[in-house]
């Protein structure tokens, strides 16, 4: 089948209004990386298994490779760039660094967005709960232990601050 007509979409990305034209088959993560230059969201497996492409759509995390850009017309998208700039992840980023919770960093943006959704629910989740929550995000460097340590330490610190 030949290339299909592009669709005009408007959406908010990291608080900025974006108007672009996209082919229907363009996934959200490819759109973010290639049309907008937001390369913090990574393309790994492209079938929903690895979690490297995790972004927020209307406030909840989704797979950037299993969402089409054309479906995001009128919606709100947030990426690691926006959440990093806003300071929302500052303590989590510091904890990842302090605990050596990353080596190559490929999984880190997706891992942080996933962790932040669990942390935002409040309380101090058990290590088993943390592991289950990040089960959809592959890391091939750390063995996960340091990542669980980092997430747990942030949960404890945030709980103490109330």
């Amino acid at each position: 089948m030949s290339p299909q007509p592009a669709h005009d979409i408007t959406l908010m990305v990291n608080g900025e209004a974006i108007a672009e034209s996209v082919e229907p088959r363009t996934t959200l993560v490819d759109f973010l990386r290639e049309a907008l230059g937001l390369t913090g969201s990574h393309v790994g497996c492209e079938h929903g298994v690895c979690g490297a492409c995790t972004v927020r759509l209307d406030g909840v995390i989704v797979r950037g490779c299993l969402t089409l850009a054309v479906q995001c017309d009128g919606r709100r998208v947030e990426t690691i760039e926006g959440l990093s700039d806003s300071g929302e992840l500052a303590d989590l980023q510091a904890a990842f660094e302090r605990r050596n919770a990353l080596q190559c960093g490929f999984c880190t943006p997706g891992m942080m967005l996933t962790a932040q959704e669990l942390l935002a629910a409040g309380g101090v989740p058990s290590r088993d709960t943390i592991r289950a929550h990040i089960s959809g995000n592959y890391c091939r460097c750390t063995g996960y232990h340091a990542i669980v340590d980092a997430i747990e330490s942030v949960a404890q610190a945030r709980a103490q601050q109330g």
Partner: protein, 281 residues
């Protein structure tokens, strides 16, 4: 990989979706997309048109109606997982949902999509069969209802025709006598199961009646283990496990051999039988 080109249309109503799908034999309905878009990316399917039903009115309801729980096709797994209606009236589904994919998948994937896609290793098709539920379908010739036992017809094949849109599923609401059980084995939490079992029964005296055991990951569709159901109704757990040799014939796949899957099916039956006897989960 990247998907082959396709056209995209946002449906304005269920009727519009039915009309669009009927006009193009190679169209696919796009709901949560958590399975469909993966198959597009892998070029395992190449539809010419995607009909997006996200946002359509009347498909994301969740309600208790006439003794049944009706779940709209566009209800997301995460939404169902948070629902008090589901927790109270469809506890088997509540117990299964944490096993479906991962948080980001559950935020986007839909109940209707899981049923329509009919992956033989998926949790919800087996739950629907175990509960003796039904599927509400809108099609070119109007609306119809299909029983779960008749809905799943083959590998990724269902009673849905090319111009059909799955509107909702219905399962009988649980009552004080309802017993449910659920267990699965997967290499990683959230992955498709090596083998899984969804079960429902009714407490009667010291035992169980109306037992329905629906295995997943062991065949082309969810598979009822009918001989094991009969043995379990007699209270004979060891005989029920032995009967699985007749009930199930799992093929070898990339994850495990059929022989290992059959063994694991027995392990799961013992776990699930315990849940059924312990009472309502």
């Amino acid at each position: 990989m990247k998907p082959a080109p396709f056209a995209y249309t946002k449906a304005r109503s269920v009727e519009h979706a039915v009309e669009l799908a009927g006009r193009d034999g190679e169209a696919r309905i796009l709901a949560g997309g958590q399975s469909l878009i993966a198959t597009l990316n892998m070029r395992l399917s190449r539809p010419t048109l995607l009909v997006d039903i996200n946002g359509l009115d009347g498909l994301d309801g969740l309600a208790l109606k006439d003794g049944a729980v009706e779940i709209g096709a566009l209800v997301r797994h995460a939404q169902a997982g948070r629902s008090d209606i589901i927790a109270k009236n469809a506890p088997l589904i509540a117990k299964a949902i944490p096993h479906i994919g991962h948080p980001a998948i559950r935020n986007r994937g839909t109940i209707g999509g899981s049923i329509a896609f009919a992956d033989p290793a998926a949790e919800l098709p087996a739950c629907l069969v175990a509960l003796g539920g039904e599927v509400v379908i809108a099609g070119g010739r109007g609306e119809r209802t299909v029983k779960a036992d008749d809905f799943f017809t083959g590998l990724f094949e269902t009673e849905l025709g090319s111009d059909d849109v799955l509107k909702a599923i219905r399962v009988p609401a649980a009552n004080a006598a309802t017993r449910i059980g659920f267990a699965e084995l997967a290499r990683r939490h959230g992955d498709y199961a090596l083998v899984g079992l969804a079960a429902a029964a009714r407490a009667e005296g010291d035992g169980l009646a109306d037992i329905r055991l629906a295995y997943f990951g062991v065949g082309a569709t969810p598979v009822r283990a009918r001989k094991a159901e009969a043995e379990l109704a007699r209270g004979a757990l060891d005989d029920a496990v032995a009967a699985l040799a007749d009930d199930l014939d799992p093929p070898d796949d990339v994850q495990e051999t059929g022989a290992v899957k059959r063994h694991l099916a027995g392990v799961l039956l013992r776990r699930v039988a315990k849940q059924l006897m312990e009472g309502r989960q």
